[in-house]
Amino acid sequence: MFESIKIWKQQGGQTIPDVTAVTLPEIFRGRPTIKAEACVSGCTACIDVCPVAAITQSASSTISLDLGACVFCGECADACPTEKIAFTNDYKTATSTREALIMREGDVGPVVFDADAVRKEIAAYFGGSLKLRQVSAAGCNSCELELNACGNVNFDMGRFGIEFVASPRHADGIVITGPISLNMSAANDICYDAVPDPRIVILSGACAITGGIFQRSTELQRAFVERHHIDLYVPGCPPHPLTFINGVLQLIRTRKS
């Protein structure tokens, strides 16, 4: 017993007091920025190197980077001869619209969270309490581990009334991780159908949003993502727990004026 109390005292409070104001190390690859300057003519280094085809060049030869596909390997920043692309340590990249995930030239500010895209029942029902059912649809386990970490002593998502539950009947929405394999698609549908209304869908990780590194695989069945309204996109490979928590908090605390 005394030993336990000693451990408890030694342990102390481990929780990050304010999850919205943490500074991650510089080397952390968070939200990328693309400077609004002309590329070296004819250079496609970043596009060529990107393993997930997240970078595209428009007709006007400006480039954009899709956070929905990006695995944050950082190779494009290395490949760019002019340091036009850089990764910041900003982890608040989760957003309510797919469009907001596309980083364009000159976007240096934080990722836009479109309050109008948030359904109004979300704040009304889930403002102070949200239970989620996670579906691992062929995720590689890093997203799952990070979602688990959201609930640990350090990140302590439970203090906001947000928790993962066992049964979708008890849940208010599902969090999908992984590219949704053919073999998991039916289970994923069953799980979504088992959640009572109103319900939300969160896609966590590049795989869930676009298929990520598995985009070209023949073993995926991603119809679910097209069929249903997605309430929150959490980019990353895997998304940092802080990214996820901040995204969900923004989602349930946004009240449309």
């Binding site: 030993e3 336990s4 451990i7 190197v49 944050f72 979602l147 993962f164 590194i213």
Partner: protein, 504 residues
């Protein structure tokens, strides 16, 4: 069979093509010769003419030798063959994959059931139909758990045949995670795409799988990396081992509802993976290992930070580890729960932790050393009771051993050369044509085996990935026999096997 060793590049032509009959007797003879031999990989791929080329790789833990044999099956010929599994159960999973992917019918296979259900499976079955073993009579009830489990865990289906609270038999059906990794590996891809793919085989074994992959590629490129890079990789692997082991200890405490243990150990995992974040910008070490280089090196400042992190972690970890293994209510749950005997572990060919907790000494770092491990200064522990307690306590021992080993490696890193590698200037080169390499790395779960085969143009035609879970899932199934069903979570967590590593 052709004898070679870990990371040797061998020419395909050096491997004689046997008839299936000769292949069968040769492999069986080799297995019979020595008890320390087990199958590390047995896979096949289609040649351009449609024929099936199959390789079987055996490892001898006592002599550090690997053996390979191959045979061809003509596309037009018979696909009904006698199986190896009939003699050695450990081959079952490989033969099932061959049946599933290429339609080879193993006539006397004792357990010929689907494995991963790829969309074009030769058996034609979909994930909805699996021939579960069942106990007839209408008095046994079944419990089916999964694919969506209670916690935030990956998908798999567990089918229990129960009499009340007791489990008679557990069968595990996987395949939900199948993403076609082996196919994507040979799909026209850049080396970076393949590396990122290797990082995504199993997120909890990022370092292990990526290392096995880059080792295979480096070998095929006939290049080496510097000593420092090798040591850094070994440090990363041990860090991964510590982080996962601590996380699993925390999860085991959670499953027996010992809150203090679960909270303290859960918090202790954070500094470990956060160190990766400081080192390479990702909490799992994604983006660290690349062919021919590490994207960020362990600078002296980081080395100091690592020492500090380890010291601090040890200080906080010792008391809780001691308390946990002395608390009667915890021990009552762990001891004599989920026993897998040495005999069973041997039959199913268990590897890594699963083998070491059941009395089998299997550790690639010692038995098939490569690079840094040739110094033979890493310590391997073996426990014999085979219960949840053994697997839990082994984790504690391995955490201790890893901390010690990281300190040794850090010492070596200070004096290690940073420029004696041959791939520094040009990390990506052509692969050797018509060659094969077997790359083995001891991840925290056990032996990770990546086998690469190139064609005459030096293009990758087959890259086979074997996660230790392929063998060890059966250990979990066996551990439940005669146990209470409510002990399943701790049995499962004590193994913490990979679903995605198995399903690929």
């Amino acid at each position: 069979m052709l004898s070679f060793s870990n990371l040797d590049v061998i020419s395909l032509d050096a491997i004689p093509v046997l008839s299936y009959g000769t292949f069968l007797t040769t492999v069986l003879d080799h297995m019979k010769a020595n008890d320390a031999r087990h199958c590390v990989n047995y896979m096949g791929y289609r040649l351009p003419n449609g024929d099936l080329e199959c390789f079987c790789v055996l490892a001898d833990d006592s002599t550090s030798q690997l053996f390979v044999a191959r045979y061809h099956l003509a596309a037009s010929g018979t696909m009904a063959l006698p199986s190896l599994s009939a003699h050695y159960r450990a081959f079952h999973i490989f033969e099932r994959v061959l049946w599933e992917n290429h339609g080879v019918q193993f006539t006397d296979h004792p357990w010929l059931k689907p494995v991963r259900y790829p969309h074009d499976a030769a058996h034609g079955a979909t994930i909805d139909s699996y021939p579960f073993f069942r106990i007839e009579g209408g008095e046994v009830h079944e419990v089916g758990v999964g694919p969506i489990h209670a916690g935030v865990i990956k998908p798999g289906h567990f089918r229990f045949q129960c009499t009340g609270e007791d489990v008679v038999h557990l069968e595990i059906k996987l395949g939900y995670q199948h993403r076609g990794i082996e196919r994507l590996m040979v799909h026209p891809s850049t080396m970076l795409q393949r590396t990122v793919l290797a990082e995504s085989i199993a997120g909890d074994t990022t370092i292990g799988h990526t290392w096995a992959f880059v080792n295979a590629m480096q070998a095929l490129m006939r290049g080496t990396v510097s000593d420092a890079v090798e040591i850094e990789r070994a440090i990363a692997l041990e860090l991964e081992r510590i982080a996962i082991h601590i996380g699993d200890l925390s999860a085991l405490n959670l499953d027996v509802a010992y809150q203090l243990g679960s909270a303290v150990l859960g918090a202790l995992r954070t500094p470990m993976i956060n160190f990766f974040q400081w080192w390479c910008g990702n909490r799992f070490g994604k983006g660290l290992l690349r062919v021919g280089q590490n994207r960020s090196s362990l600078t002296p400042a980081l080395q100091d930070q690592l020492v500090e992190t380890l010291d601090d972690m040890e200080r906080r970890y010792r008391p809780i580890a001691d308390t946990m293994f002395e608390l009667p209510s915890v021990l009552a749950r762990f001891e004599r729960t989920g026993i897998v005997t040495t005999e069973q572990a041997h039959i199913i060919g268990a590897v890594g932790m699963a083998a070491r907790s059941s009395g089998l000494r299997r550790d690639v770092r010692r038995s098939h050393p490569h690079g840094v491990y040739r110094a033979e200064d890493v310590q391997t522990h073996v426990l014999h009771s085979g219960d949840v307690m053994a697997r839990t306590y082994l984790r504690k021992l391995e955490i201790d051993a890893s901390i010690t080993y990281i300190r040794i490696l850090l010492d070596r890193l200070r004096t290690a050369s940073r420029d004696n590698g041959t791939l520094e200037d040009r990390p990506v080169r052509e692969l050797a044509p018509r060659s094969m390499v077997v790359s083995m790395v001891e991840g925290w779960r056990g032996e990770l085996v990546h086998t690469s085969i190139t064609d005459e143009h030096g293009a990758l035609v087959h890259h086979s990935v074997k996660d230790p879970s392929m063998h060890n899932w059966f250990a979990l199934a066996l551990s439940l026999r005669g146990n209470e069903i409510s002990d399943f979570p701790i049995c499962n967590k004590s193994y913490d096997l990979s679903y995605c590593g198995h399903d690929l």
